[in-house]
């Protein structure tokens, strides 16, 4: 009677372990699949630390690659192209992490041009194309930015 109870207990424990393992595996597979399906639905080719590479950008890169070639991009070529896009995103994140936006003079100049360029587009929309007005608007913009900023000299 006792031996039979022990066997039943062992069976129950084994069953519990088995079912929880299956449950765990199914859960993991399900979350990965959900992510995968979600990604496809969102038109994603890949994500890198949460940053997205869209399928449309990937396909654009593939067609650029195919331009001037007789054959279509092979599977290997496509892997290489996605790999390059991922490399680019990793390098972009590297630059952001190391604040190269400020310390690299070329990158610094490019962002400053982009921000100022954005202002000029706004001015054109207002038909303020005269350089004198442009300067005034730019100065106003900087004044507003300064008003809301915390600026202090380093005393050390």
């Amino acid at each position: 009677m006792n031996a039979e109870t022990n066997t039943n207990n062992l069976k129950a424990v084994a069953f519990l372990v088995f079912t929880s393992t299956i449950g765990l595996i199914l859960g993991l597979v399900s979350s990965e699949t959900k992510f995968f399906v979600k990604g496809i639905e969102a038109g994603l080719a890949a994500t890198i630390n949460g940053s997205e590479i869209y399928k449309v950008d990937y396909e654009r890169a593939v067609s650029l690659f195919e331009k001037g070639r007789r054959d279509r991009a092979s599977l290997k070529d496509r892997q290489m192209i996605l790999g390059r896009l991922i490399d680019e995103e990793l390098l972009f994140q590297y630059a952001i992490d190391r604040d190269l936006l400020r310390s690299d003079m070329n990158a610094r100049r490019t962002i400053l041009q982009a921000v100022v360029g954005g202002l000029e587009v706004g001015e054109e929309a207002l038909n303020q194309t005269h350089s004198k007005y442009k300067l005034i608007i730019f100065q106003d913009y900087l004044t507003k930015l300064r008003e809301t900023a915390t600026i202090y000299l380093d005393e050390n």
Binding site: G50, Q79, G83, L90, L91, Q93, Y94, R146, Y152, L153
Partner: protein, 279 residues
């Protein structure tokens, strides 16, 4: 019990000080390189001021006077405000030009670390001996190539060849142009110009020998090898600068690949395209 209480108090302290405490630590570390001014908790560093000073005044930051220093500070504050505005608008992510510029900045940052290491003469010499094929001057050959489209010309050419005439003479007699430049050229270039089928005949010719007729696009081809130049390995001293350039180029490529691989190994990368995988 007391130990638990101490731990609980430490935990409470950290949660109260929280972000401010940590940011203070970070700012202190940033401050090690020296800061000029703080704009929205972001430092404008002395190295930045140094670069700005050289750019605006052509002098080091230490050598400019107070007036110049003040105007430089104002310029740097304005720039910092604009950069912060750009970050708020997510311009680095959205503007393709800024994005590319940042990627290039990363490449410069990574490869400059390799470039900063001096290269010894011994390293260059060993690189040269390990990669001799790169520096070898390849074998070259000069060919006369004629193409005959008409049957009558072909018959005439065959009889002239049988009479021991060179292709240059035959071209003159039949008023033909040569199908490719007559000077010395490397094999890959010859292959590109003639195609694999015809160029393969050139490889087995002896000097002055004429190939058998080869049918190709546009007619029947005849090739004659007129001169050859053997592959030549120059001495290290002759190509020292090229060796150094190549060593640097490969080193930069390797440094970049290693860094990207390291970044990839630490990153969370998910690919949605079935066939794709990173690397």
């Amino acid at each position: 019990m007391i130990i638990r209480l101490i731990f609980a108090l430490i935990g409470l302290g950290i949660s109260i000080l929280g972000e401010e405490f940590l940011s203070q630590l970070v700012f202190d570390r940033e401050g090690d390189q020296g800061n000029l001014v703080w704009v929205n908790e972001k430092p404008i560093t002395l190295p930045q001021a140094e670069i700005g000073s050289m750019y605006l005044f052509g002098k080091t930051f230490d050598s400019i006077d107070q007036l110049e220093r003040d105007s430089l500070t104002q310029v740097l504050i304005n720039e910092e405000l604009l950069i912060q505005r750009g970050e708020t608008l997510k311009i680095p992510n959205r503007d393709i030009g800024v994005r590319k510029s940042l990627v290039s900045a990363s490449i410069r940052d990574i490869t400059s670390k390799f470039d900063a290491v001096p290269v010894s003469e011994r390293t260059l010499r060993s690189f040269f001996s390990e990669h001799q094929s790169i520096f070898e001057k390849p074998q070259r050959m000069a060919l006369d190539v004629i193409v005959l489209a008409k049957q009558a010309d072909l018959r005439r050419a065959k009889s002239l060849i049988a009479a021991g005439r060179d292709l240059s003479e035959i071209a003159k007699i039949l008023r033909l142009n040569f199908a490719m430049p007559r000077g010395l050229q490397t094999l890959p270039i010859i292959y590109r110009q003639l195609g694999t089928k015809i160029a393969s005949f050139a490889e087995v010719l002896e000097t002055r020998q004429i190939s058998p007729p080869i049918r190709g696009s546009g007619g029947v081809y005849f090739l004659q090898l007129t001169a050859t130049e053997d592959a030549l390995l120059p001495s290290f001293d002759d190509v020292r600068d090229i060796v150094k350039q190549e060593y640097r180029r490969r080193g930069r490529e390797l440094a970049l690949r290693e860094q990207i691989d390291l970044l990839a190994s630490e990153a969370d990368i998910k690919t949605m395209i079935m066939s794709a995988s990173h690397k």
